[in-house]
């Protein structure tokens, strides 16, 4: 009687375990299903309209067949490029300071914590900030102000990853440098940064991946343009803002071109992300 009772309890516990762990497995599948669904939709709808004209031609007025998104591709490239050029030095510089100079300072630690918070900052607020600082005084939208907004988004990401990576470089290496009479900047340049260059590169790529898919900060900084321009002082189209405009628009062709642009954008962003991941995992030592 007693034995049977015990057996039953154990049986129930086992069933319970299988049941709940089964639910956990289902949630994992749930995540995978959405990933597959989004990617498949983007591929299926995008690939139909993915052709050379998309990259090589300016858009035609709505209602007229053909045309491409050359202006958006070029604009996106320029805006992201300038943002990267501004963002990398400032981001790495701040990260190096956090890790190398500010290790024992409470003030610098507080700065680092705030930077950590800014990483998750609402990007649209940064758009409004840059609008007030750069667009309003000048009087018109500019590609470069979009770059500044994106750079402001990128700097905290690069700073935090640089700091994290530099913390992994063993202190004994630095001390060896100091023992040889090197100055701090020499130790940073020849020891810390050299040891951590792969990890810092990862941070840069993650930063680019982060900003390359951003729309909100560009809406009222770089704005949009229906023509190709390479002048960053002009309003400039970007892939993301163009997708926003085209998807919201009433024309069937706009929707298809938005899908095609989404395909390019998604796989661009995922490619950057995977590249960064591979770099981390194939690291030799301190990243």
């Amino acid at each position: 009687m007693e034995d049977k009772h015990l057996e039953r309890i154990i049986y129930i516990r086992k069933i319970k375990s299988v049941l709940f762990l089964g639910i956990a497995t289902l949630t994992a599948l749930y995540g995978i299903v959405w990933l597959a669904w989004i990617l498949l939709d983007v591929i299926i709808n995008g690939i139909k309209f993915l052709n050379l004209t998309l990259f090589l031609e300016d858009p035609t007025p709505p209602g007229i067949e053909g045309g491409g998104l050359k202006h958006a591709f070029i604009g996106h490239f320029i805006i992201t490029g300038i943002a990267t050029l501004i963002g990398i030095p400032v981001g790495i510089g701040a990260g190096v300071f956090f890790a190398e100079y500010g290790r024992h300072s409470v003030f610098v630690k507080a700065l680092r914590s705030i930077t950590d918070v800014i990483v998750s900052f609402p990007s649209i607020v940064i758009g409004t900030l840059v609008y007030a600082l750069l667009v309003k005084p000048v009087g018109h939208f500019m590609g470069i102000s979009g770059s500044v907004a994106l750079a402001l988004l990128m700097i905290p990401v690069v700073a935090i990853t640089t700091d994290e990576i530099l913390k992994l470089v063993p202190n004994s290496l630095r001390e060896a440098g100091f023992a040889l009479g090197a100055y701090r900047w020499q130790v940073i340049k020849d020891i810390s940064l050299t040891a951590a260059k792969r990890g810092i590169l990862t941070g840069i790529i993650l930063g680019i991946a982060r900003i390359s898919g951003e729309t909100a900060p560009l809406l009222f900084t770089a704005f949009n343009n229906s023509f190709t321009t390479t002048n960053p002082l002009q309003p400039m189209a970007s892939l993301t803002v163009t997708i926003f405009q085209y998807a919201m628009g009433p024309y069937e062709e706009w929707h298809s071109q938005a899908w095609a642009a989404s395909l390019v954008l998604t796989f661009g962003a995922l490619l950057f992300f995977i590249l960064a991941k591979t770099l981390i995992h194939s690291r030799t030592r301190y990243g």
Binding site: F97, I118, W259
Partner: protein, 318 residues
């Protein structure tokens, strides 16, 4: 020789100062300037409507130039709340699966898959939601929910209205998919911080795997789950493009989940370039200021109260 040393010292000072300036810029000047600019730009609206009236008023009328934030704030909080409610159990489930159940060889595959979900640009979520999810919701899911809960007293009210697919339900649903990767990554990390010793002790007492998860791992990593949730909520508050297509941008306080609404971010994104009067633009800055304070406060809480204490706990316990 002396000159050389002098030169090197000079470089040392200049490197230190410039790097210090960079970090001061990121960690202090940038957020402070943001706050100042937002306050300055919001001043006209701040003077006209005051704080309490702006926060509690329900009108958003660009023609009459009467603006208030309650609908946008409610919308933001509502969508974020529902999205988190959906995302939390799923994220915990995914974390349990990846850290405890999946075969070792498949672990990186699942981890990467979830991370990829987080790397997809948010505008893609928005567009996909508009073209794929919204029609499905309008056609099948929402009528089904209406029929099912029609006679249930309170819940039935939640699903009243015409199912259009562009509403609170769809917005929060798409937002929940967006925050799952972020949330589950933090939960998974804190799960993996549970000392193996504790788990083995529990197994040694004859516990099943589920009992180990329920009684050891989850209680142990509760601060991490909490911190991850608050961080994700902080992020979801500021999310713009994923919901920009799906809310309908109607300044009203929804009485059912099937009504269109607006959020702070969506209102700014849609109306900023159309704002034709100074007061209109200023009111949008006022909204941005509210969003700034909300999300900065929330992220700070997550960072200092929860994650910081968590870090210390981990360090002392292991």
């Amino acid at each position: 020789m002396f000159l050389k040393v002098k030169k090197k010292e000079l470089i040392e000072t200049s490197v230190k100062t410039s790097l210090g300036a960079f970090s001061l810029f990121v960690g202090l000047i940038f957020p402070v300037v943001t706050l100042c600019v937002l306050v300055f730009e919001a001043l006209p609206a701040l003077e006209k409507f005051g704080i309490l009236k702006f926060l509690t008023g329900k009108t958003w009328d660009p023609v009459a130039e009467v603006f208030s934030a309650l609908p946008a704030i409610t919308g933001t909080l509502l969508i974020t709340f529902i999205a988190s409610i959906i995302a939390l159990p799923v994220s915990v489930g995914i974390a349990v699966f990846i850290s405890e159940l999946s075969p070792r060889a498949l672990k990186p595959v699942f981890t990467t898959a979830v991370e990829l979900l987080g790397a997809i640009p948010s505008i893609i979520y928005g567009m996909w939601g508009l073209f794929v999810i919204a029609p499905l919701m309008a056609e099948y899911v929402e009528p089904f929910l209406q029929e099912t809960f029609n006679s249930v007293p309170v819940i039935g009210k939640l699903f009243e209205g015409v199912p259009t697919g562009v509403d609170a339900l769809t917005s929060s649903f798409v937002l929940s998919i967006m925050i799952i990767p972020f949330m589950s990554a933090i939960v998974k990390d804190s799960f993996e911080m549970t000392p193996t010793l504790l788990k083995e002790a529990c197994y040694g007492l004859g516990a099943t795997k589920w009992e180990v998860v329920k009684d050891v791992i989850i209680p142990y990593s509760l601060p991490g789950i909490l911190g991850g949730t608050v961080l994700s909520v902080g992020r979801a508050l500021g999310e713009t493009m994923a919901v920009a297509f799906l809310t309908g941008n109607v300044h009203q306080i929804p009485t059912s989940l099937l009504e269109p609404l607006t959020t702070i971010t969506v209102a700014i994104a849609n109306e900023f370039t159309e704002a034709d009067s100074d007061l209109y633009l200023s009111s949008l800055y006022y909204l941005a200021l509210i969003l700034f304070v909300l999300s900065f406060g929330l992220l700070m809480i997550a960072r200092f109260l929860i994650l910081e204490r968590l870090g210390k706990k981990w360090k002392t316990n292991i």
